[in-house]
C-alpha cells in the first residue's frame, strides 16, 4: 500500500522543479527539490514509495527533462494523472519513470488515502474499488520494460531504431 499525495490540473514543469535548482552535478539530488515551492508539504514529508495523483495536463510547459528526473529521484513509486503533457510524458517513458493515466481515480481518491498500484498490469486498488490505467502503445511498453529507452537501445544494439 502506498500513500497518496493529491495535486490539481495543469501542474507545469517550472513548478515540478524551479530552474534555480538545476543543473546539479548529480541528478539524484534533484529528487529533494521536486515540487518544493509549489507543494512544500509534499516536498518536506514525502516518503519512499508514495504516489502522486494529479489532474489533467500534468507536466505542461518546458521540455526540460529535469522535471521528470526530479520525480524519478524523489522516491515516488509513480504518478497517476487524468492526462499528461506530451513532452513530459515522453521524458518519463524515456527515463523509465512509471506514469499511469486514469481519468477516474483523481475524483475518488483523497489526500493521504492508501492505494495499491500494480505497475505491470496498470491495476489501481483504492479500498474496494479497482481502476484500470489506460494501456500503452506496444513500443512504449517495450521501452518501459527496459526501464528507459537508453537501456533498450544498449541491450538491443539500437533495436527498432537501428539503420537497416
Amino acid at each position: 500500500m502506498a500513500k497518496v499525495w493529491k495535486i490539481g490540473d495543469d501542474v507545469n514543469t517550472d513548478e515540478i522543479i524551479p530552474c534555480s535548482y538545476y543543473p546539479r552535478s548529480n541528478n539524484k539530488e534533484l529528487g529533494r527539490y521536486a515540487l518544493i515551492d509549489s507543494y512544500p508539504e509534499f516536498a518536506n514529508n514525502k516518503k519512499q514509495g508514495d504516489i502522486l495523483v494529479a489532474g489533467h495536463n500534468f507536466g505542461c510547459g518546458s521540455s526540460r527533462e529535469y522535471a521528470a528526473l526530479a520525480l524519478l529521484h524523489s522516491g515516488l513509486k509513480c504518478v497517476i494523472a487524468k492526462s499528461f503533457a506530451r513532452i513530459f510524458y515522453r521524458n518519463c517513458i524515456n527515463i523509465g519513470f512509471p506514469i499511469l493515466i486514469s481519468r477516474k481515480l483523481h475524483n475518488k481518491v483523497k489526500q493521504g488515502h492508501e492505494i495499491n498500484v500494480q505497475l505491470s498490469c496498470g491495476k489501481i486498488i483504492l479500498n474496494k474499488a479497482t481502476f484500470k490505467a489506460k494501456p500503452l502503445p506496444e513500443f512504449v511498453s517495450k521501452i518501459i520494460s527496459y526501464r528507459g529507452i537508453v537501456q533498450y537501445l544498449r541491450e538491443n544494439n539500437l533495436g527498432d531504431l537501428q539503420n537497416v
Binding site: 521540455s63 513532452i87 521524458n91 524515456n94 513500443f139 529507452i149 537508453v150 537501445l153 539500437l158 531504431l161
Partner: protein, 420 residues
C-alpha cells in the same frame, strides 16, 4: 492522380506518409528518420549524457544543431562551465552547426533547417514554431535528442488534428499574438494535448509569415504537438528570399479532422494573458491602467523584425515612462542587423529602451531582467508561469508587441489602438 490524392490526409499524415513512403494515419506509432535535431544550452548537457550512455557514434554530425541562447553570454561561472562542456563535445564530435546568434527557433528558420515537409525535433517545447512553414517540428526532451543523435531516428505517434479555421480581418492594432491568446483562452491549456493543430482559413492565407510563426510558436501552450500551416505563395516568397532555405509545397488532401473550431478575427480586441496561466486571457478593455514595472519585447514568439517594427512605430519620437524598465531583445543577429540598418535600434535607444543581445533574454529567468518581488511585467513572451522570469514573487502578463510598446509609454497597461 485523383485516386492518389484521396488517400492522403491532414498535414501531419501527409508529411509522415511521404517520409515513410506508405500511407500512415493518426493513432499509428511509427519510427522514422528525422531531418534535423536541435538542442540548446539548457537541454544539450543531458542529451550528451544520454548519448554517451547509449555508447554509439553520432549518426550524422551535420544534422545536429546546437544553439547557445538560454543564458548566453553566461551570467556566472556555472553557466560558462556548462557552455564550455558543450563546446568541447561539439568540437570533438565534429558538429559544425553551433550558433551564438540568437534564439534557437529563429536560427533554425534563418539557416533554412526548417524546411516544408521535413521532420525536425528540438530539445525545446517551442520547436513547434516551424509548423508555420509546413515543417513537422516538435519539442522533445534531452534523452530523445541523445537517442536521435545516435540513431538518426525517433518514434512518433501520428497525432489527431484539430482544425482551427480563421476568417475575417484584423482590426488596426490587433495582431496574431492577440489571436493565439484568444484561441488558447477558448480551447484551454490542455485543449490540444497530444494533437496537431492546423491553422486554416482566409485569414491565415492573408497573414504574413512572421504572424503565422507567432501562431505556431504558441500551439504548445494549448498542449499541441505542433501547429501546422499549409504552404502557399507567401511561404514560397519567404523561403525564396533566403538563399539558405528551400521551398517544397505541402498541402493537406481531404483531411479528416478530429474537431474544428471557427474564429473570426474581425471581432478580436487586443488580449492579455493574466498570471499565471497562458489560458487566463482577457480582452484589454477594463484592465487598461494597471501599473507595469517592466516591459519586455522579444523571444521566439515575437522577437522578429516585423514585431520590432510594430513596436518601433509606436515608440518613434516618444519616451518610455520614467519608472517602466523597457527591454527589447532581437531574436537573432539577422533581426538585429536589419533593425539597425532600418533605424529601429535608434528609435528604441532614443525612447529610453534597453536593447539586449540576441537570445532568449529575460524569458527564461536565467539572466538579464529578472523581476523584483511583487513587480509586474508585460511581455511578448509565450509563458507567464509563476517564476518564469526568475522570481516566483513577481507577476507576468502576456500581450502583443503593440500592446507592450503602448504600455511602455505610460507605465500602465495601454490599448495600442489609442496610440497608433
Amino acid at each position: 492522380m485523383v485516386e492518389e490524392k484521396t488517400k492522403m490526409g491532414t498535414l501531419a499524415e501527409e508529411i509522415f506518409s511521404k517520409k515513410l513512403g506508405r500511407e500512415v494515419k493518426a493513432g499509428e506509432t511509427v519510427i522514422t528518420d528525422v531531418d534535423y535535431i536541435m538542442s540548446h544550452d539548457t537541454t544539450t548537457p543531458l542529451a550528451i549524457d544520454a548519448w554517451k550512455e547509449i555508447g554509439k557514434p553520432l549518426h550524422n554530425p551535420d544534422n545536429i544543431v546546437i544553439v547557445f541562447d538560454h543564458y548566453y553570454p553566461a551570467p556566472n561561472s556555472k553557466g560558462s562551465n556548462t557552455h564550455k562542456q558543450i563546446m568541447k563535445f561539439a568540437k570533438k564530435q565534429g558538429i559544425k552547426n553551433i550558433f551564438f546568434k540568437g534564439v534557437c527557433h529563429q536560427i533554425m528558420i534563418e539557416k533554412g533547417f526548417a524546411k516544408p515537409g521535413s521532420i525536425v525535433i528540438g530539445g525545446d517545447s517551442h520547436t513547434c514554431t516551424y509548423g508555420a512553414l509546413g515543417c513537422f517540428s516538435t519539442g522533445m526532451g534531452s534523452t530523445d535528442i541523445g537517442v536521435s543523435w545516435a540513431t538518426g531516428k525517433n518514434w512518433f505517434k501520428i497525432p489527431e488534428t484539430i482544425n482551427i479555421e480563421i476568417g475575417g480581418n484584423f482590426q488596426n492594432g490587433v495582431y496574431a499574438k492577440d489571436l493565439i491568446l484568444n484561441i488558447i483562452r477558448k480551447i484551454g491549456a490542455n485543449g490540444a494535448t497530444y494533437k496537431s493543430i492546423e491553422f486554416t482559413g482566409n485569414a491565415i492565407r492573408n497573414m504574413q509569415i512572421h504572424q503565422r510563426l507567432t501562431l505556431s510558436n504558441m500551439a504548445v501552450e494549448a498542449g499541441a504537438k505542433t501547429g501546422l500551416i499549409q504552404t502557399d505563395e507567401k511561404t514560397a516568397n519567404f523561403l525564396g528570399a533566403n538563399p539558405l532555405a528551400e521551398f517544397v509545397e505541402i498541402k493537406s488532401n481531404n483531411p479528416k479532422y478530429e474537431s474544428t473550431y471557427n474564429f473570426n478575427i474581425s471581432n478580436i480586441e487586443p488580449q492579455i494573458a493574466f498570471p499565471s496561466r497562458v489560458d487566463n486571457v482577457k480582452p484589454i478593455g477594463e484592465f487598461a491602467g494597471l501599473d507595469i514595472d517592466q516591459v519586455f519585447i522579444g523571444t521566439c514568439t515575437n522577437g522578429r523584425y516585423d514585431d520590432l517594427k510594430i513596436a518601433a512605430d509606436i515608440l518613434k519620437k516618444r519616451k518610455v515612462a520614467r519608472f517602466c524598465k523597457t527591454i527589447v531583445v532581437p531574436a537573432s543577429v539577422g533581426v538585429y542587423k536589419k533593425a539597425m540598418s532600418n533605424g529601429l535600434i535608434d528609435i528604441f535607444l532614443d525612447a529610453g529602451v534597453t536593447v539586449g543581445n540576441p537570445g532568449c533574454g529575460p524569458c527564461v529567468g536565467r539572466h538579464q531582467g529578472i523581476l523584483a518581488d511583487n513587480e509586474r511585467a508585460l511581455t511578448t513572451m509565450n509563458r507567464n508561469f509563476k517564476g518564469r522570469m526568475g522570481n516566483p514573487e513577481s507577476e507576468i502578463y502576456l500581450a502583443s508587441p503593440a500592446t507592450c510598446a503602448a504600455t511602455a509609454i505610460n507605465g500602465k497597461i495601454t490599448d495600442p489602438r489609442k496610440v497608433i
